[in-house]
Amino acid sequence: MALVPEGYTDIAGFALMVAVATIAMPCGEPIGKGPRMIDKRVATLAEAIAPVEEGAVVMIGGFGTSGIPFGLIDALASSGVGGLTIVSNNAGAGEEGISVLLRNGQVARVICSYPRTPGSIWFERRYAAGEVELEVVPQGTLAERIRAAGAGLGGFFTPTGYGTKLAEGKETRQIDGRGQVLEMALHADIALIRAEEADRWGNLSFHATARNFNPVMATAAKHTIVEARRVLDGPMDPAAVITPGIFVGSVTEYGVRP
């Protein structure tokens, strides 16, 4: 009885793959002679935002004023799509970013950790009027629930929030002598991401603390839409990639820095 599945021991054939592959994929050059085949670049923010549907769950990267995809949010505001659930750390401040969506009445629900940033007037107004639902999630649990969705996990036990109001109604248990709360994966239809650099394969890098929630949110949506300050002509250095392109749906250049 062979212990190894057929072919497992037969890696001599690998040489043939190589011989063929070195013809089909010359190192450092795009594959084939036709047009470039993987190209996630989209010309305009409006075009990029088109897949967002009424009632969508939309994750929006950023923390405070850093790493927020302002260009995409403005495009979403212009689209007029409503009934949105917004997943983000904050709930907008002043008259820009998520505040615009709230002002426009496009938001039905907010899932965030900190909606009380100074100047979150539009959130406070909609909340006080009962026009928007709020789910407050501890920040680390928010990041981890998003990660679980992107990583294909159903949920996890965390000590965060145990014994507090935010654990009410949730399953808990003792693990290694500590109270822990069961938190479930948080999926999205759309993620709006701000990156520093992107290439046509959708690989992303981030600037300083603009990284924050962007990489983890990029993994958790059915379709991830990126505004990048610079879209490179060539590929990014493989070791410098923070978000591999496999997680990215489209990339649009948006050079404005807040």
Binding site: M1, G150, A151, W201, I246
Partner: protein, 214 residues
Amino acid sequence: MNDLHRLSDNDVARRLAQDIPDGAYVNLGIGMPNKVAGFVPEGREVMFHSENGLLGVGPTPAPGTEDPELIDASKQLVTTIPGASFFEHSTSFAMMRGGHIDIAVLGAYQVAENGELANWATLDDKHPPAVGGAMDLVVGVPTIYAIMRHTGRDGSIKLMERCSYPLTGLGVVSRVYTDLCVLDVTSEGFRLVELAPGNTLGAVQAVTGAKIHA
């Protein structure tokens, strides 16, 4: 079994490669699955994922350019193609388990007509079991292609009603590519897609442990 005309492993891999669409993210298991990379039709850009932290696996390096710490999941020296990225293991398996990879091509000891896959352990307890990343792939990747010889070297049946070896996953295989035929796994069981040249359904059915629907 004199009436069977068997494809070589390379020809099975070549056949499977026709079904890898342009732009796909694909994980290849070690051994026979790994051959598929060499047969992707020209003009298609396919990003091969290697569980040890590489998306965009390129061909074997030219002599003298090898990087001893740039290897694939088969522990073979490789290169990267443009658009490649490196990442660590928990991210790599997030790609696999999280549904981000389009197709995984896996070797198999056994495949059952209900999509069961057995490719990590036998009933032989003398040797240590070794599961690797197969279980993560089968739960996370929406399309699982099994590539295998249709029967064991000893003539044993490998395509069957239910696997007798420990399972890798339940109801996971979409399609099976063997040296005798290509079969879809459907709600009714195996359905013939095509026969390798020179074979009849009757002859292939005779070495198959479950009904092949025509």
